[in-house]
């Protein structure tokens, strides 16, 4: 049969896109193609009236057949088209026009297109009998190549096919190279204008912008850069040298197309200077880890490097010093409390403990300051801190009376200041109980000293400290406690009345305080923590009835509670 040789040719061409079998040679590919098409054929067997010899012979010797076929196949186009051509040939014995629609079921328009291509290709295909003496070729004649109809349907959209040529640098299998060449030639011969169905424009194209692509490339290039490429990238450099040499030789030999091979050029990027892997931000605690390419997740050192920057301003450093001091004293206090046996804290009897207490008291009182004023200031600063107040409150029971008294006096002398500073904490109350106990052991003289601080006018202010004190709960409580104690002392010991100077001072102070209380609007008068019962009688003794009534009215608030 005439068509014997041609199917063989076509099959050979269809070799490249076979995905079956390990055989590489063209000839043996062909029978595999038969296997492939066999599965298609099974469906369409009914449609076929022609003979089908589905009996491939894989042991076929490709040999000379290959060479011949290839020569002639240069002009053949797409295998799918060729299959169609084959069909027309086969069915062309009668009327191809009728045959094809039956077989393929295509629309007239696409058929028309097919005819166009077929017309073009027909001179090539309808050639005289193929002088292949080899009998194996005859085998193929009986084969039927019926392409999948879907193949045709896909044809219009993918014609002409997108074909990315591998660069001349790529090493291809010789078979592959030959096949690609063939395809290339065929494409070149078919008119490039034949593009009625071009690729639909991809609406999602270029989601990755040029900038982004360049960025990725830049990152990859940076990773490739090296100071010494001859050492780092030895194989590529050698390969490129060989390639260049080969091209130079080719050019010398007269080869026309000298393609300039591109060389990989990595950008020269300045190596970053010594970087700070650990950054310290001012005012923050700890360190911030900066990730670099050398240390992407660097552990922060626990030990601080170098010196910490100087604290801004003396105020903050002062405050920190005070806080630090309080902490130290608290530790001492805890030791003392620990040493104390179970029971209420009291002035200790053991030698060691008294030493400890002494030490603590000195720490508090003097604060290692030589200047008395500064020492007092230090004490007040301690009292300004809530923890400092707690410290003093817990420490007082351990102190011997004289030391406790000194603290009390210091407190009363600076009571307005303390009151003002306590606005935020409102923690002075915790001092009341221990101070109260201390007050109850005061001597008259000491008491007077304490009260004096409150009644004396501070320089530069028209207001007596008492006024401020009365408005504060702790202040008023302390004041009442002092007065109460004074009254108690006086009532118990009539001899006190004899010592005129002290007693006069006392009466003056009582009167003054009473007057101040009377002056104070009821609303601003603070509510004392405890209201001693002997206050009113005290006032009765020293002030006139009217005032007493006023006082009573004001203090009645306290009575109720």
């Amino acid at each position: 049969m005439e068509g014997v040789g041609q199917p063989a040719k076509m099959k050979c061409l269809e070799g490249p896109h076979l995905n079956q079998g390990p055989a590489k040679s063209c000839g043996s590919l062909a029978p595999e193609k038969e296997l492939v098409s066999a599965s298609h054929l099974e469906e369409e067997e009914e449609n076929e009236e022609g003979e089908e010899d589905l009996d491939p012979d894989p042991d076929l010797a490709p040999g000379p057949e290959e060479e011949e076929e290839e020569e002639d196949e240069k002009d053949l186009g797409d295998p799918a088209v060729l299959s169609a051509v084959h069909n027309t040939q086969r069915g062309g014995l009668s009327s191809p026009g009728i045959k094809i629609p039956d077989v393929l079921g295509m629309s007239p328009t696409s058929l028309h297109f097919l005819w166009q291509t077929l017309d073009y290709l027909s001179p090539v295909l309808f050639r005289p009998k193929f002088p292949s003496a080899n009998s194996p070729a005859c085998h193929f004649g009986h084969q039927l190549l019926l392409p999948d109809p879907s193949l045709f349907c896909s044809l219009p959209t993918s014609w002409p096919p997108k074909f990315s040529l591998p660069s001349h640098l790529t090493q291809l299998h010789p078979q592959h190279q030959r096949l690609l060449q063939l395809q290339q030639h065929s494409r070149m011969q078919s008119p490039p204008a034949k593009k009625p169905w071009s690729q639909q424009p991809d609406p999602y194209a270029n989601l990755m912008t040029r900038k982004e692509k360049d960025w990725v490339i830049k990152v990859q290039m940076v990773q490739l850069q090296s100071e010494n490429p001859r050492l780092d990238d030895y194989y590529y450099q050698k390969y490129y040298q060989k390639l260049e040499k080969k091209q130079a030789d080719d050019e010398l030999l007269g080869r026309k197309n000298k393609v300039e091979s591109l060389k990989l050029v990595t950008p020269y990027i300045q190596k970053a200077e010594a970087y700070e892997s650990v950054v310290r931000i001012e005012g923050s605690l700890g360190q911030v880890a900066v990730s670099t390419c050398f240390s992407p997740r660097r552990a922060i050192d626990a030990v601080p490097h170098g010196t910490q920057e100087q604290e801004a301003g003396a105020a903050s450093s002062q405050r920190l010093r005070v806080l630090h001091h309080i902490e130290k004293m608290f530790l001492q206090l805890l030791e003392i409390e620990e040493g104390q046996k179970d029971g209420p804290p009291q002035p200790c009897y053991s030698e060691q403990q008294s030493k400890q207490v002494e030490k603590l008291f000195l720490a508090l009182k003097t604060q290692e300051q030589n200047n008395l004023e500064e020492a007092a200031d230090g004490f007040l600063q301690v009292l300004s801190v809530r923890k400092g107040k707690a410290l003093v409150a817990r420490m007082l029971p351990f102190l011997p009376q004289n030391q406790a008294v000194s603290l009390l006096l210091a407190i009363t002398h600076h009571l307005p200041l303390l009151v003002r500073r306590d606005v935020a904490d409102q923690a002075l109350q915790m001092l009341f109980k221990p101070l109260g106990r201390c007050i109850s052991h005061l001597t008259f003289h000491e008491l007077l000293q304490g009260l004096q601080g409150l009644t004396l006018l501070a320089p530069g202010s028209s207001e007596r400290p008492v006024t401020v004190v009365l408005q504060n709960q702790f202040g008023i409580s302390l004041l009442y406690a002092l007065l109460s104690h004074g009254e108690q002392l006086v009532s118990l010991d009539s001899s006190l009345e004899k010592s005129n100077s002290d007693y006069t001072t006392w009466t003056d102070m009582v009167v003054l305080i009473a007057w101040e209380i009377a002056q104070m609007p009821t609303a601003s008068l603070a509510e004392p923590l405890t209201f001693p019962s002997n206050l009113l009688p005290l006032f009765c003794h020293h002030v006139d009835k009217q005032l007493v009534q006023q006082l009573e009215a004001r203090m009645e608030l306290a009575w109720i509670y």
Binding site: H17, L35, L151, D202, L207, M208, V216, M221
Partner: protein, 133 residues
């Protein structure tokens, strides 16, 4: 290749249809839209293809973001040659059923094998105690 001669880069593959094989054995087919320096991939109009014997089934998956380390290989799909395959496409239900059957037969065969070895006093090391590479 014109970007970085002498190297392999995915830049040229963008907006083309690819077949991606993952480390867990899945096969994804989709348009490669975006990459980064780790070869993390963004696949568009992705389809997961399950192969059992000569049949395959496609499960449409939409957009995939694949971490680079999980890719075994990927290759460009030639669009016109794509349909020229001897494999037969079936429905999703069918292919999943086929897959299940295949899995089952494999497990049973494995069981028999293990039993046979046990009878002879041998034991295969467990997969989780083997090194992966």
């Amino acid at each position: 290749m014109n970007y970085m001669p002498g190297t392999a880069s995915l830049i040229e593959d963008i907006d083309k249809k690819h077949l991606v094989l993952l480390r867990d054995g899945r096969t994804l087919i989709g348009f490669l839209r975006s990459i980064d320096q780790f070869a993390n991939l963004v696949l568009h109009q992705t389809v997961e293809r399950i192969h059992v014997g000569k049949k395959y089934g496609d499960i449409p998956r939409g957009i995939f973001v694949v971490r680079g380390e999980n890719v075994v290989l990927l290759g460009e799909i030639d669009l016109e040659k794509e349909s020229d395959t001897p494999l037969q496409q079936v429905s999703i239900e069918e292919i999943l059923e086929e897959q299940r059957v295949e899995q089952q037969t494999r497990l049973e065969a494995e069981k028999l094998k293990v039993q046979a070895l046990k009878d002879r006093g041998l034991s295969l090391p467990r997969a989780d105690t083997l090194d992966e590479y």
